[in-house]
Amino acid sequence: MISIRTRFRTKKEGREKSESTLHATFMRLCRNPTAVFGGIVFIILALLVILAPWLTPYDYAAYDTKNLFQPPSPAHWCGTDQFGRDILTRLLYGGRYSMSMGFIAVGFAAIGGVSLGSICGYIGGRLDDIVMRFLDIFQAIPGILLTICMAAALGNGFDKVIIALSLTRIPSIARLMRGSVMKIRGMEYLEAAEAIGCSKARRIIKYVIPNSMAPVIVEVTMGIASTVLQLATLSYIGLGVQPPTPEWGAMLSDAKRYILIKPYMIMFPGIFIALTVLSLNFLGDGLRDALDPKLKD
């Protein structure tokens, strides 16, 4: 019944297409110029930040009293601050905190949100009611206020800020995941999985979660951007990373006193924050389109 021609064709196509879902998504992402732009900018920023020790000759914490308030020059591309520290150096080292904390906080939030959301969405019933009402309470409080309260309650420190940032992000991810799971739960392939003897845990891990991740991936990408912003906000009001650790928000906060006389001091941290957030948002938007099953080609 299967002719030689079809057999040849299937064999060849099979080779090409076998990386299917992931590969196809990536290809679609590459066709979106804004997303590519966002991706490239983000990769450049990330590389700059990671390679900071090799890119700059200055120390981010050492005072240099001979060079206070230097405007941008070939020696100090972004100028120096009130203690004579090179602003670019501080920005690059500061990015390490902003980005890594963004990633770690959202990573924890994703793990928490995905597991909570999938359990609630899949099992439903009373457990779902209780957890969701609890998350409703969380979501009724403005996000930044909640983060500030938590950061204030937990105290200062790298780990505590991360806890505050990830806890406030869990509800939105959990809610999104739950909705997505509830849609998948009605699918026949889950019944089919039950009919071949898969246990409930296995059905959730192998069938439900992979099929409902798409919106969460977008949310997480965007979430990193807004966590970077939140972290900047926290540091700006003095609840985030403490000096002399360079952090973008803390740098903004330092520079605000000199905004009228030395505007470059506040400009460059602002640009770095904006570029990071913008590039991640572009990337997230592109991912949203690329993961949309209706656009499958």
């Binding site: 019944m1 299967i2 057999r7 299937t10 064999k11 196509e13 099979g14 297409k17 076998s18 299917s20 879902t21 019933g125 699918m187 026949e188 392939y189 019944e191 089919a192 999985a193 039950e194 009919a195 071949i196 003897g197 898969c198 246990s199 192998k206 069938y207 992979p210 099929n211 499958k296």
Partner: protein, 325 residues
């Protein structure tokens, strides 16, 4: 296990769904039995409870809503309804497997088809990665799909091929019983014939019993040995296929046969059965078919008639059928 025990014996099965506080009477006292290698056709309209019967056998009714209220389902003398969930997991896909109605949605879209077949094999045979995949490729070739396509995803297959994959999955562990829930309804007619032929062939090869759910009497005629006509969750007529096809006795069965187009007769309007199946929230007190029956008598509205033997292997639940109308 006594020697003359039937292979599968479903006795007085009652299944209810709760929906918004109300009770849906989906299956109301269904009984039938099946020998090894036999095929039983469950025929009936949409919503008659056919799929619910199949799902009760596998115990995969939607969890809080669907409940088996009464009855027993004995497979080789063991009541499936009394097994623990863990024991049931060992039976699903292994001794009893199910082919679902819509191949488009019954495969996991993010899992390679070979992986999905290997999943059943691994679950029930404790095989390591390599031999399970090898077996999965063998199964694919058995259903006429080149093994080289095992590492592709479901969306790269056509509907007919997906249904073959589903069948390969159902047969992978050499089950004793296949529950085929309208396996061909979502396929076009030429593919329907191929798929049915394939199922029957593989079934005979492995001496498997099958329950075929369908609303297509033509398919029943081709494939089945026995027929049960289901209506509003009850068996109206049950028995040997030939006896029922030659001598349909229940007014409902007669109506179903009347609705089949006949090529030998000059075209005229097909007869249909007036009315709609009863509301499962609110079933009639008497015979469930009485509101639509053309030969209805006074006491049909007041009492139910049990299945009674009217032929050698032929049972009918209409009290007046044996008398002739």
């Amino acid at each position: 296990m006594s020697g003359n025990e039937k292979f599968l014996k479903v006795d007085n099965l009652v299944v209810e769904y709760t929906s918004g506080g109300e009770i849906v009477h989906a299956v109301n006292g269904v009984s039938f039995s099946l020998e090894r290698g036999e095929t039983l056709g469950l025929v009936g309209e949409t919503g008659a409870g056919k799929t619910t019967i199949a799902k009760s056998i596998l115990r995969i009714l939607p969890d809080p809503q669907g409940k088996v209220r009464n009855g027993s389902i004995r497979l080789d003398g063991v009541d499936l309804l009394e097994l623990s969930e863990r024991e049931m997991q060992g039976i699903r896909g292994n001794r009893v497997s199910m082919v679902f109605q819509d191949p488009m949605t019954s495969l996991n879209p993010v899992m390679k088809v070979g992986e999905q077949i290997a999943e059943v094999i691994r679950k029930h045979n404790k095989k390591m990665e390599r031999p399970a995949i090898q077996k999965a490729i063998e199964m694919l070739e058995l259903v006429g799909i080149p093994g080289s396509r095992a590492m592709e995803y479901p969306h790269q297959f056509s509907g007919g091929m997906k249904q073959r994959v589903v069948i390969a999955m159902a047969l992978a562990c050499k089950p004793d019983l296949i529950l085929a829930d309208e396996p061909t309804s979502a396929l076009d007619v030429t593919i329907q014939a191929q798929v049915l032929e394939m199922i029957t062939e593989l079934k005979i090869k492995q001496n498997t019993s099958m329950i075929l759910i369908t609303h297509d009497l033509g398919v029943v005629g081709n494939v089945c040995d026995k027929v049960a006509v289901i209506y509003a969750g009850e068996v109206l007529e049950y028995g040997d296929k030939l006896e029922i096809f030659l001598n349909p006795s229940h007014p409902y069965t007669v109506g179903l046969f009347g609705a089949i187009p006949d090529l030998s007769v000059k075209s005229r309007r097909l007869t249909n059965i007036e009315g709609l199946p009863p509301d499962p929230f609110n079933l009639p007190v008497g015979c469930c078919f009485s509101p639509r029956c053309k030969n209805v008598r006074e006491d049909c509205f007041k009492r139910k008639f049990p299945l009674q033997q009217i032929g050698e292997k032929h049972y009918c639940s209409c009290g007046y059928a044996p008398l002739g109308f």
